[in-house]
């Protein structure tokens, strides 16, 4: 591996891998870093670990596809550093990373953030109880260690991921107690065919019909238009309460509840770099502004994949290729316009169904009762935030200073959007105008020992 690179790609998911392969094909040699031990990102997590067998089969063809992509990425010979965390980024670009418990810092001319998306936190009363987790986290356990919950699981929320997870879980012999679909009524039921497309692209629009059949055949109880979901218990979740569309409140014994309300771009790094962001009403999140080749408002800083706006894996790959081409041009490697045309066509195709999907899964914005924990790190409730808003009338940063909300190790990843929403409701102003927390480094926790060992230009361990 070279010790110096002009280009850093952060993230080895669909976008990062595609950009790396593209740049390598053009004769450039970027460095790819990724937090995980193996390439593939979230959607193709640990695909190298499951080349054959039941898990591979259960995870379905869209997961199997990852094996080929990862192989192509490996074959490109690109410099790849797994198990590496980016924790700070400075203009210029001085990049601070940690690997094997040692911090190091290097300079790059161009940086591509292909850091993807995170699940939108779904704060409901009781969501911090043991026994409640996100669908995404449950799926990671499925992919990395084929872990299947012992008890039948309840799944609550909206979006394509719960459907995919339920199908995967059923194939591996798991049991589903029921799906509490919180998609606003009127939308529910029409969405399945689009769920597949949301994850992979338009070509799969009608493959989703197969999911629907599978879930129906398995007899998964599917309750539509559900609201007021609560996990109840002392030390751990003991009961589940929800209200169905006929206004009847139900309470059932339950030990495991998986939540999911869609995904949102990871914006901490672009916020920390003071990039411009726009509020997307359709996706209910801030999206960093990028030009048509993926460059942010900071020259030389690029974005690809779901981090540049949710579009699914195929769109992420196309955006990765486009950003790779853009970086090549930015660094003076001649015209890439013919490649660009091709990549743009793939992107258009992958995104064609997106407006439909966004319309079908509008951000649910379910009511957040006062007793709901908003900030898990500091254990602050929605009521605490509303009281602080009432008293101080300040923006997210003032509320943070007054309450400590967002000061914990998650850096506001769990509470940022909830605070934004509560304040926008309290002040009767737009989500965009309300804004987000100012992001303080480090982007990911780094130990005192790691930082103490920081050395400029130190060869990565």
């Amino acid at each position: 591996m070279k010790t110096e690179h002009d280009i850093l790609i952060v993230g080895a998911g669909p976008a990062g891998m595609a950009a790396a392969v593209q740049l390598t094909e053009l004769g450039l040699s970027p460095l790819v870093i990724d937090e995980q031990a193996m390439p593939g990102g979230q959607i193709w997590r640990a695909t190298e670990g499951h080349r054959t067998g039941a898990v591979q089969q259960a995870l379905g063809p869209e997961y199997a596809e990852g094996t080929d992509r990862v192989a192509r990425f490996r074959a490109s010979g690109v410099d790849y550093m797994p198990g590496t965390r980016l924790w700070h980024l400075e203009p210029g670009f001085q990049v601070f990373m940690s690997r094997n418990e040692a911090a190091f810092s290097r300079r790059y001319r161009a940086v591509l953030l292909a850091t993807g998306a995170q699940e939108r936190p779904m704060p409901i009363p009781g969501w911090t109880l043991p026994g409640v987790m996100t669908v995404g986290a449950a799926q990671i356990l499925l992919k990395t260690s084929a872990q299947i919950p012992d008890a039948p699981v309840w799944v609550a929320g909206s979006g394509p991921l719960p459907l995919l997870y339920m199908r995967q879980l059923l194939s591996l012999g798991g049991q589903i107690a029921g799906y509490l679909d919180t998609t606003p009524s009127g939308q529910a039921g029409r969405i399945i065919p689009h769920a597949m497309a949301a994850l992979r692209g338009r070509a799969d629009l009608f493959k989703g019909l197969k999911w629907l059949r599978q879930l129906r055949a398995a007899g998964v109880p599917w309750l539509r238009g559900v609201r007021d979901v609560r996990a109840i218990g002392q030390e751990k979740m003991e009961k589940l309460r929800y209200t169905t569309s006929d206004e009847v409140m139900h309470e059932v014994p339950a030990s495991l509840l998986l939540l999911h309300e869609g995904v949102v771009p990871s914006i901490h790094a672009t916020l920390a770099m003071n990039c411009d962001h726009d509020w997307s009403d359709t996706q209910g999140c801030f999206v960093p502004c990028t030009d048509d080749i993926g460059m942010t408002s900071v020259s030389g800083l690029y974005l690809a994949g779901d981090g540049a706006g949710i579009g699914g894996a195929l769109a992420a790959e196309a955006k990765g290729r486009i950003a790779g081409l853009g970086i090549a041009e930015f660094l003076g490697h001649g015209s890439v316009s013919s490649h660009l045309r091709q990549a743009r066509a793939s992107l258009d195709q992958a995104l064609a169904s997106r407006p439909v999907i966004d319309a079908l899964y509008p951000p649910a914005d379910v009511e957040i009762p006062d007793e709901t924990i908003v900030c898990r790190c500091e254990e602050l409730t929605a009521g605490d935030i509303r009281a602080a808003a009432e008293q101080h009338r300040g923006g997210p940063n003032q509320i943070k200073a007054y309450t400590r909300c967002g000061m914990g190790p998650c850096q506001g990843r769990q509470c940022g959007y909830t605070v934004n929403r509560i304040l926008s409701e309290e002040y009767n102003q737009s989500r965009s105008e309300t804004g987000f927390f100012r992001i303080r480094p480090p982007l990911k926790p780094v130990t005192l020992g790691e930082l103490a060992a920081l050395e400029e230009g130190q060869k990565a361990p």
Partner: protein, 373 residues
């Protein structure tokens, strides 16, 4: 045009404390804050309440302030998270302990009994897990630390209850004296009062310049690191002689590490940026102090912009123009002085006489230029 008796420019802790004391004395006070209360140095403070190692010129004011901190709820109806768990400065060598002993004995000769020299057994008792290479230190048992945000909330709320009007998002654009009154133009309108207090921190010299007065002032942006919560308890605030480190545990259990390591800042935008290569030295010093903290995760780093004078003492004095008063440039150690400095400036504004405790802080010491047209 909004009229009051005193306009305070700057909604940091010194501005709020001055406002509170003035309002309690019967004045109608307006605070004009460019961004929001505590946005810069006050909100980014390590909130050390320290007499340990303080410049002796500040000691008379610091002693007053310390008495007020120990009864802080009398002033602001909240304890501000203040705990008098002591401040400790440890040393490694015999030469260092001798120098500290000499310093403390000079203090005693001047009549101050706030510090004592203690040995290795005592420092190890005070700081569990302390690296055995430290052999003793200087200790101020009545010192401690507060919670900067609670302190801001308390001073702000008490000032408002005392009748102070606070305008946030009201940066001052111009100041003009007409006859007996100042007119202060801000983004949200004009304010008028016979007296103006310039408590604008790092921007104090810019405010002074609006009145034609030039005061040399630079700035600093001391960086802070906060970690995840620790299960162990370390009560005093600890520093190391000759090293840039101040180490304390907050009441939340997190470690708050500072010590004056400088980040980058921009006065125009008000933004700061970290210098992690410099901060790495602070992290190394923390690990040297208590080796077991090396595995503790840093969750957040920040800094705030603070005014800094050449001799690191504040400017607290009447301005060159009539009805103008300055209080800024605390150079990174103004938090402890907040309650007493506010009382002293209120006294000066009301009587027009400079109290003895403020005599060392005249801006003239920094310049021979005086007023410039």
């Amino acid at each position: 045009m909004t009229a009051s008796d005193v306009i305070i420019v700057g909604g940091g802790l010194h501005g709020l404390s001055g406002a509170l004391h003035l309002a309690r004395a019967g004045a109608k006070v307006t605070v004009l804050e460019g961004e929001f209360v505590g946005r810069h140095a006050s909100g980014a403070s390590a909130a050390g309440v320290r007499t340990l190692g303080r410049n002796t010129l500040e000691m008379p004011l610091a002693i007053q302030a310390m008495d007020m901190w120990h009864e802080i709820s009398e002033l602001v109806e909240d304890d501000c998270g203040f705990h008098a768990h002591g401040q400790l400065r440890v040393v490694e060598t015999d030469a260092q302990i001798a120098a500290e002993a000499q310093r403390v004995s000079r203090l005693v000769d001047s009549g101050y009994s706030n510090e004592v020299i203690i040995g290795q057994d005592q420092i190890r008792q005070l700081v569990p897990g302390l690296n055995p290479k430290f052999i003793g230190g200087a200790y101020a048992a009545d010192d401690g630390a507060a919670d900067p945000h609670r302190t801001l909330i308390a001073f702000r709320a008490t000032a408002i209850r005392a009748g102070v009007s606070i305008y946030e998002g009201a940066p001052v654009q111009a100041m003009k004296r007409d006859g007996e009154n100042w007119t202060v133009q801000t983004k949200v309108g004009a304010f008028t009062a016979p007296k103006v207090v310039n408590a604008a921190g790092a921007w104090g010299a810019r405010i002074a310049a609006m009145t034609g007065e030039i005061i040399p002032l630079s700035a600093k942006a001391s960086m802070m690191m906060v970690t995840e919560r620790l299960t162990e308890t370390i009560r005093p605030v600890v520093s190391i002689v000759g090293r840039s480190l101040s180490f304390k545990q907050s009441s939340q259990g997190t470690l708050v590490l500072g010590g004056g390591i400088q980040g980058r800042y921009d006065l125009d935008s008000g933004r700061t940026a970290m210098d992690f290569h410099a901060l790495a030295k602070g992290a190394a010093a923390a690990g040297e102090l208590i080796p077991s903290v090396a595995g503790v995760r840093i969750t957040r780093c920040w800094s705030g912009i603070e005014g800094k004078t050449e001799d690191l003492l504040p400017v607290i004095c009447p301005g060159k123009a009539a009805g103008l008063f300055h209080i800024f440039g605390f150079s990174g150690h103004g938090f402890q002085l907040v309650p007493a400095a506010g009382a002293a400036i209120a006294d000066m504004v009301i009587t027009g006489v400079v109290p003895d405790v403020l005599l060392p802080f005249n801006a003239d010491r920094l310049t021979t230029q005086g007023a410039v047209e």
